[in-house]
């Protein structure tokens, strides 16, 4: 049984279109095309509280995305979270007194790590650790602190 040329052509086109659909899903829709630098270096930072930070969250400097969170671990001795940051190899001039902070994009957005370079001569390299960190803000803590301050301001609260 021979299949006609048109049939073969159309089936070939069908398979190609299907593969193209999958390609669109991979590249245009999902994060596969996102941050995959050819050469990268990993640094770590310790935080008391990472809030809602997740693996693959962005790492930014001045709002520009320069890396991502590779993994999050917990240090059982120091009771702190250890966050490994995978940085694009192009940006390797960060001073070793760079500050890492966890912020939230927008009111309900995802959390990300923001780096603020310091003024030191030495630069961060593979395996360095950032000493200056600022934990994520937890809303409940903030509110309770605010209420506590208000109460302290007002003197003895009326019973």
């Amino acid at each position: 049984m021979k299949t006609s040329k048109t049939t073969e052509l159309m089936v070939g086109m069908f398979i190609a279109v299907g593969a193209a659909g999958l390609f669109v899903l991979a590249m245009q829709v999902s994060n596969l095309s996102g941050f995959t630098p050819a050469n990268s270096y990993t640094i770590t930072a310790r935080f008391e509280n990472i809030g809602g930070l997740k693996a693959r969250s962005p790492v930014t400097v001045g709002g520009v995305r320069i890396g991502r969170v590779a993994s999050i671990d917990y240090d059982n001795d120091r009771f702190e979270a250890i966050v490994a940051l995978e940085m694009d190899g192009k940006y390797d001039q960060f001073p070793d007194d760079t500050t890492a902070s966890i912020y939230t994009a927008g009111l309900l957005g995802e959390q990300y790590v923001s780096l603020e370079p310091g003024g030191s001569e030495d630069v961060l390299a593979e395996g360095s650790e950032i000493d200056l960190t600022q934990s994520a803000l937890v809303l409940e803590k903030l509110v309770s602190k605010f209420l506590f301050d208000k109460a302290a301001e007002g003197g003895d609260p009326e019973p």
């Binding site: 049984m1 299949t3 279109v17």
Partner: protein, 277 residues
């Protein structure tokens, strides 16, 4: 008096007999279902055994890919487009209340890639290709073409069933991928084109929230499973049909009904396994 008693006794025993008869019928249909399940599994094994022959003669597969895959393309593309457009419209109306219409891309992409793409494609596929397969094979059986092949020492399992089965299994993920891609562009036309969601936000939020392995690949696995099950049901029901006009019509109906049940039930199980962390 004695006569009266015997009549009552006969009535009571009659009732017990009719009840037993009912239980017996229940048992018979249960055994019948199990027999059918066993036949279906043996049938599947036979079908899979046809794979080597299919590799030697790919033209059989190409012909079936045409009728199962290419001819289903139109309905898949049109439905995908409209499903995406409706999702964008509905999602926008809900999200705009929270000032989160920028997340429209995420909402549309996740619901299509994870659920609607594979499930709706499988349901449409069962209606478009599955019913056609059942009817075709059932009619071949009714007109004794299958027995004719056996007479000529051609195994109809390998010649007729295997190419159709594998064509369905190959087509379904491709169709689902096309459905998802078209649906997301349909959502883009409505969301960005008509409702004024920001172009960059639609794609950027989508790319940051949709994961290739967790979302896209799991959707592909789902569509592969659905393709397998739907085509299996379709070819088996056709092959197992009573070889009369009525039998073929019943087989076709059963294909669509069982496929819908199987797809929706399996979808729940697969979702629980894949996204239930």
């Amino acid at each position: 008096m004695d006569r009266y008693l015997s009549i009552t006794r006969r009535r009571i025993t009659g009732k017990i007999y009719s009840m037993l008869e009912w239980v017996r019928q229940l048992g018979r249909s249960g055994i019948g279902q199990f027999e059918k399940l066993g036949r279906a599994n043996l049938f599947l094994l036979n079908t899979l055994a046809g794979l080597p022959e299919l590799v030697r003669r790919p033209s059989l597969l190409v012909k079936q890919l045409w009728s199962v895959g290419v001819l289903s393309l139109l309905i898949i593309v049109v439905s995908g487009l409209f499903v995406g457009m409706v999702l964008a419209l509905q999602g926008y109306n809900t999200l705009v209340d929270f000032g989160a219409e920028e997340s429209l891309g995420v909402a549309v992409a996740l619901s299509i890639v994870r659920e609607l793409g594979p499930v709706v494609t499988a349901l449409l596929f069962a209606g478009r290709a599955g019913s056609a397969l059942s009817a075709e094979i059932g009619l071949m059986k009714a007109t004794e073409q299958l027995s004719g092949m056996e007479m000529m020492a051609v195994d109809p399992m390998h010649r007729v069933i295997s190419p159709r089965f594998f064509a369905g299994v190959i087509s379904m993920p491709l169709l689902a991928a096309i459905f998802s891609a078209v649906g997301i562009y349909g959502g883009y036309f409505v969301g960005v084109g008509l409702l004024g969601v920001d172009d960059g936000a639609y794609w950027a939020q989508m790319q940051s929230k949709v994961d290739f392995y967790d979302d896209v690949l799991n959707g592909v696995i789902k569509s592969l499973v659905f393709g397998w099950v739907v085509t299996w049901i379709a070819v088996f029901e056709g092959y197992d049909a009573i070889p009369t006009s009525e039998g073929v019509s019943r087989a076709t109906t059963r294909t669509v009904v069982y496929s819908a049940f199987a797809v929706l039930g399996l979808d729940f199980i697969l979702t629980a396994l894949m996204f239930g962390d």
